[in-house]
């Protein structure tokens, strides 16, 4: 049983490393697209590793719930990442429209991003 625990801890720590890498990328990368790339990809992988690590230590029901949460976060993350990237590309294309585009960007990007937060808590 102990090597399973060891594997679980290894996966959890690996997931943490990806989370830290994603957050560092979000803070340090130069432009919006690479920041989005860093934070969505690395965090999704990190969450998957954390879920995998936790599922070793939990029952099958909890494992299924965590997998569902991971799936939802992954899809929502992908959609909201693409949405943000599209809006920043459009804003860069239409320079005079920039003040007109940005409100839509914030309004549209808020909810898909906040939806997984709501679900994660359950």
């Amino acid at each position: 049983m102990s090597w399973l625990d060891g594997l679980s801890w290894f996966l959890l720590l690996l997931g943490l490393v990806f989370f830290i890498a994603g957050s560092l990328g979000l803070l340090r990368f130069p432009d919006q697209f690479s920041r989005l790339h860093a934070v969505t990809k690395a965090d999704t992988l990190g969450l998957g590793l954390v879920v995998l690590g936790l599922s070793i230590q939990s029952s099958w029901r909890e494992t299924l719930l965590m997998l569902l949460i991971w799936l939802l976060v992954m899809c929502s993350g992908a959609v909201s990442c693409q949405l943000l990237a599209r809006f920043s590309r459009d804003a860069a294309d239409a320079e005079p429209l920039i003040s007109h585009q940005e409100p839509g960007q914030t309004a549209n990007s808020t909810s898909p991003a906040s939806a997984p937060v709501t679900k994660r808590a359950e």
Binding site: L72, C75, S76, V79, S80, Q82, L83, R86, D90, S99, P103, G104, T106, A107, N108, T110, S111, P112, S114, A115, V117, T118, K119, R120, A121, E122
Partner: protein
């Protein structure tokens, strides 16, 4: 030891996020920090063994309030410089409210009263539900919950007076189909939270907030165009929670054997509470959605 460390870190992060959210010069940053504060606060409630509050905080504080603040920011006129308040009146008002809040916090006993929770657990079989929090909220102290619904309705009526100019952009096909794909799941979870509220953490506010988040996502993607204050059925839905609550209270006052305002007969208490909670969920969801999205004045079909 490990959990103590976790609690210390959590408390520090909550305080730091609260401080930076208040003192941030950039309103967008302040909103983001406030959303992060909501997530951490939900964790804190979970650590304090208050799962009902944690659920509500995660759904409302971290999810909907963020969307609400962002749509409010969009409606702001372009440049809103945060200059120092020149009038004394607002400062006095805020100081007065703060003093009242501090005074009421001071009234809370340091350690919870064990006699009170004992009384609740003794009366629990007569409440019609098995979860003490739901029993307190919808039976023992239902008057408070009724007034909370009224406060929510007043907030909506107040917001209706303000001019709003929110522009909805036509949903991009992928976000549109994802929001559509999510909606059955959200409806299912709403029903689950509502039903579970009788026996476990959950209930009308959590379920309503969850449903509202789904409605807001759909609404921002230009779906559900009927969901506006102009629609009389939507107004009825926003009123329904309060209406059903008051009618049930009147019924209990006039016709039931106890003849007491908001006193449910023990045999039907479970059904009464479920009925009130169902309509309250609908009302809360519609009210919160209208608060966040309001009346979009212009809908463009491009983008």
């Amino acid at each position: 030891m490990g959990l103590l460390l976790f609690d210390l870190v959590l408390a520090t992060v909550v305080l730091l996020l609260a401080g930076t959210a208040i003192f941030s010069r950039n309103l967008t940053h302040a909103v983001m920090l406030f959303m992060a504060f909501g997530v951490m606060m939900a964790l804190a409630w979970a650590r304090l063994a208050a799962p009902d509050l944690a659920l509500a905080e995660a759904a409302i504080g971290a999810g909907l309030t963020g969307a609400l603040c962002f749509t409010a920011l969009v409606r702001q006129p372009a440049a809103l410089d945060s200059k120092v308040a020149t009038s004394l009146l607002p400062i006095c008002f805020v100081a007065l409210i703060t003093a009242a809040l501090l005074f009421s916090v001071w009234q809370i006993p340091v350690s919870p009263n064990p006699a009170l929770s004992h009384e609740v657990s003794v009366a629990l079989p007569q409440s019609g539900v098995a979860h003490p929090v739901t029993a307190v909220l919808l039976n023992f102290r239902s008057w408070d919950t009724l007034l909370e619904l009224l406060v929510l309705l007043l907030a909506l009526l107040g917001a209706q007076q303000a001019q709003s100019s929110l522009t909805l952009y036509a949903g991009w096909s992928l976000s549109l189909s994802w929001s559509r794909l999510l909606s059955p799941l959200i409806i299912l979870l709403t029903g689950y939270l509502l039903w579970r509220g009788a026996a476990a953490p959950g209930g009308a506010f959590q379920a309503g907030a969850l449903l509202a988040s789904g409605l807001v996502v759909l609404r921002l993607n230009q779906q559900l165009t009927w969901l506006s204050w102009q629609n009389p059925w939507v107004r009825l839905a926003a009123l329904s929670g309060l209406l059903v609550f008051v009618l049930t209270g009147l019924f209990s006052l006039l016709w039931s054997s106890s003849r007491l305002w908001l006193e449910w007969p023990t045999a039907y208490a479970g059904a009464v509470i479920l009925g009130i909670e169902s309509f309250a969920t609908l009302a809360i969801a519609v009210t919160l959605t209208l608060l966040v999205v309001g009346e979009p004045t212009e809908e463009r079909a491009d983008a």
